[in-house]
C-alpha cells in the first residue's frame, strides 16, 4: 500500500498534517455573502438545476490553493457556477 499514488487533495483522512489540531466547536456567524450564496443554492436545487453531488464534485475539483484557501461559501459559489456551466445553462462569460 505504501507504493500507492497519493490521494486526491480532498481525500484527507489519515494525513498527519490534520491530526491533533483543535476543532472549532461553533460554526462562525454567517455574513451577508454567505446567506446570499446559501439562498441561491436553495433556488437552484428547487428548480432542479443542481444536485449535492454535482456541487461536491466541483468543490473537490478546485485547485488545492483554492480548496484550502477560499471560505466555505466562496467554494460553494465557485462550484455552483461550475455546475451551471457544465450543464450548459450559462457560459463562462456569463459568470466571470
Amino acid at each position: 500500500m505504501d507504493t500507492a499514488p497519493p490521494p486526491t487533495h480532498h481525500d484527507l483522512g489519515g494525513n498527519p498534517k490534520y491530526r491533533c489540531t483543535a476543532v472549532e466547536p461553533e460554526n462562525p456567524a454567517l455574513n451577508d455573502f454567505d446567506k446570499r450564496v446559501d439562498a441561491l443554492r436553495v433556488v437552484l436545487r428547487e428548480k432542479g438545476l443542481i444536485t449535492t453531488d454535482e456541487q461536491r464534485l466541483k468543490i473537490e475539483s478546485l485547485p488545492p490553493e483554492e480548496y484550502f484557501g477560499l471560505s466555505y461559501y466562496e467554494k460553494w459559489l465557485k462550484a455552483m457556477a461550475a455546475v451551471l456551466v457544465s450543464r450548459g445553462i450559462v457560459s463562462w462569460e456569463d459568470v466571470s
Binding site: 500500500m1 500507492a4 499514488p5 481525500d11 489519515g14 453531488d53 464534485l57
Partner: protein, 97 residues
C-alpha cells in the same frame, strides 16, 4: 434486490485508484482501499453518487456500514479501536473463510 453481504461478513475493499487516470467522484476513502473489514449492517439502496455528480442516470446501489480495525489503517490508537466507514456494494469483494 437484497444485500449481497450479510451482517458479520468479511469483505475487502477493492484496491482500485481510477481517479489517478481520470476525473471521477468516488466516495470510497483512499485509506480503506485494499483493506479488509466486517460488514456491520446494510443501510439500504441509494442512487450512486459516482453518477449523480455527473448529472446522469444513477442506479441505486446498496450501502453498508463496514467496520475496520483502526491501527493498521491509521497507524495510531489502541488495540480494539475501530473505524466505521460507509461503503457501496460495488466497492466490496467477499473474503473466503
Amino acid at each position: 434486490m437484497s444485500p449481497q453481504f450479510a451482517a458479520g461478513a468479511r469483505v475487502q475493499v477493492k484496491n482500485n485508484r481510477p481517479e489517478t487516470v481520470m476525473r471521477l467522484h468516488l466516495r470510497t476513502p483512499h485509506y480503506v482501499r485494499g483493506r479488509q473489514g466486517i460488514v456491520l449492517r446494510a443501510l439500504g439502496r441509494f442512487p450512486n453518487p459516482e453518477d449523480l455528480a455527473f448529472n446522469r442516470p444513477a442506479p441505486e446501489k446498496m450501502l453498508y456500514h463496514v467496520l475496520f480495525e483502526q491501527q493498521p489503517v491509521w497507524n495510531e490508537g489502541e488495540a480494539g479501536d475501530t473505524l466505521l466507514v460507509e461503503l457501496f456494494e460495488h466497492w466490496l469483494e467477499p473474503v473466503e473463510g
